[in-house]
């Protein structure tokens, strides 16, 4: 059984189901309660769960992220919403030094079952400071899990798994796809395990890895490429850390070519990691050097035309695929 849901609704349902299931789960963040969240992701939660479990916070990410981490240390399961992940930079010490490292530094005596979630990456003309992808930033750090779904079904299944996970999870959403509709299973125990990628379009000529909004770009590119006689396989990474190495390696071994797509910057990006891994693990299967598609190596421009040029696009993916296919 499935129903058509937007990504926004799927995220809300995931939180509601997990809050009903486990009274230790609560949501906190700026305007998440009475206003239902800046992007209306928490609609109806305050009404259902009340002031104690859906908490409006002051505008201080460092403060409320620290409150959340402390609550997690003592056994609660907080969901901390950042209005956007750009503001998580205020709280990055709490996230990395407190949430990510405590299990290790306490010798396993104290964990931090917390989810930090919110929109990530470029929106539309919100300027350089409000338009960046944190996937590689957080994926760099041991102790964190980093998840970034594309479809509504994955958003729901992965958020539910993230809330149940005993480790701190960075859950990167995307403002531009909150309103997109997908078929979502109605089962309340619909979980998608963290660390598993999904082959969203099988193909034999080239592997395109993508996550979040770029999965949509990759799928569009694949459609256009099929007109050129190139059969592209698209992998939705879904989880950035731990990365599903096996699925990617197996795919590249069969296609012999790799194009990785991400919205973050190219230097030391998620694509860099994937390309290195493929060179290490599948070198003898490569027929062309792997290619990374990433944002241009500049702060994101505000001007609409430049913003468009700086971000990954269907056209850039098609050109990269042609390059690695020697077409």
């Amino acid at each position: 059984m499935t129903q058509t849901l937007t990504v926004r609704e799927a995220l809300r349902d995931a939180m509601a189901e997990e809050m009903r299931r486990d009274s230790n789960v609560f949501l906190m963040g700026e305007e998440v309660a009475q206003y239902h969240g800046a992007y209306k992701v928490s609609q109806g939660l305050w009404e259902e769960f009340g002031d104690k479990r859906v908490v409006d916070t002051p505008i201080t990410e460092h403060g409320f992220a620290g409150l959340g981490v402390g609550a997690a240390f003592v056994g609660l399961k907080p969901i901390v919403e950042f209005m956007t992940f750009n503001f998580s930079m205020q709280a990055i010490d709490q996230i990395i030094n407190s949430a990510a490292k405590t299990l290790y530094m306490s010798g396993g005596q104290m964990g931090c079952p917390i989810v930090f979630r919110g929109p990530n990456g470029a929106a539309s003309r919100v300027g350089a400071q409000h338009s960046q992808c944190f996937a590689s930033w957080y994926a760099h750090c041991p102790g964190l899990k980093v998840v970034s779904p594309y479809s509504a079904a994955d958003a729901k299944g992965l958020l539910k798994s993230a809330i149940r996970d005993p480790n701190p999870v960075i859950f990167l959403e995307n403002e531009l796809i909150y309103g997109r509709s997908f078929e979502v299973p109605t089962d309340e125990d619909y979980l998608i395990p963290l660390g598993k990628a999904s082959i969203v379009r099988p193909g034999k000529d080239v592997t395109i890895t993508a996550f979040s909004i770029t999965v949509g770009h990759a799928l569009q590119a694949a459609e256009q490429l099929s007109d050129l006689g190139i059969d592209a396989e698209v992998i939705d990474l879904r989880t950035i850390r731990p990365l599903d190495r096996e699925t990617i390696i197996r795919s590249v071994k069969s296609t012999n070519r790799l194009v990785s797509v991400e919205e973050g910057w190219p230097f030391a990006g998620v694509g860099s990691e994937i390309c290195t891994m493929i060179c290490e693990e599948a070198f003898d299967f490569l027929d062309a050097p792997p290619v990374r598609i990433a944002a241009e190596d500049v702060p994101l421009p505000y001007a609409a035309n430049l913003e468009k040029l700086a971000l990954p696009s269907v056209e850039k993916i098609i050109n990269a695929v042609k390059t690695v296919c020697y077409k």
């Binding site: 012999n256 003898d284 299967f285 490569l286 027929d287 062309a288 020697y326």
Partner: protein, 413 residues
Amino acid sequence: MPIKILMPALSPTMTEGNLVKWLKKEGESVKAGEVIAEIETDKATMEVEAVDEGTLARILITAGTEQVAVNTPIALLLEEGEDPATLDSVPAPQVKETTKEAPSKAVAATPSVTALPVKELSPQKPRAANAGDRVFASPLARRLAEHTNLDLQTISGSGPHGRIVKLDVENAAKSTTSSPTLTFGDSEYFDIPLNNIRKITAKRLTESKQQVPHFYLTIDCNLDALLALRTEINARMDTEKLSVNDFIIRSVALALIKVPEANVSWQETSLRQYQSADISVAVAIEGGLMTPIIRSAQSKNLRQLSQEMKSLAEKARSGKLAPEQFQGGTFTISNLGMYGIKHFGAIINPPQACILAIGMGEQRPIVRNGQIQIATQMSCTLSVDHRAVDGAVGSTFLAAFKEFIEDPLRLLI
């Protein structure tokens, strides 16, 4: 520890070779001195013998692998009672890497394998690895080529900077297995892969023609007396017969001893004059040309020369010449008379200074004492490296050669 069997340096110029065939399988026992593999070097296919006794536990370089650098481990040998688990402690060899060691050192550093004895033969320079020979191919293309036994050197790459990619290897495999004919423009053609002999021949002769200042001296020799003597001798021999070529080899050998200034090689800083006439004789073989050597030809009689030449030619055709049988030599003879060639100019075989091109013996009108007569004449052209030999020396040599040919009884002394 398992004993590593290394890629042997089977000749002084060898930096890498092709592993043609394994004569032993993994798990088979090997005795010292037994032939375990065949290796194709610059010019010949040679056998590799085991030194140690044991079990051929693991083959590291599979048959058909090309360009295996000297000293690369090619197999592992376990002595009796050794634990096979120790095999995994030996890292896999890196194929395609060229050793930079001097070849003579490389021989010394190969204790596990008995190569055929390699002497310091002629003063040939070691062939340096040339960066320009690097073939660019994707990792996948390299692997596919290895699986399909295709030589990457023979495939042209369609990728950036001429990189050979999967598609190129697949097309090459198709063209070798199915119809070899491709169309290009209006004319049909197919590409023949180069074997090692052709590659080396091309390289050396290009160097020779570009670097050695050639000049040419032609002389006509009368063969009537030689042919008559040959008929008489052959009538007295049982099964084997002497050929005109045997007389020519002996004449050249004796002429070289008589005119040692022509038995030389150019050494950049000096001129090396040889005491012995080691004569390279060009032999056409399938897919190329070999020059096996008759050493000290001046001290061998016609019958010995004839027998040795037959045996060398046979070995050359079957690719079984040992390095000392084709490397070195002080002078070369190339005879195309049997093809009806009147005369030709051969390319010098460096570092030798001279090569003698023998044309066909034929009846021609000649003028003798004011009379036109019919005589069997043979035109011979000496190609000379002018750095080492001047026109007068070359002419003196040819005159001496002509004397032996025209007064062949002297060849019997």
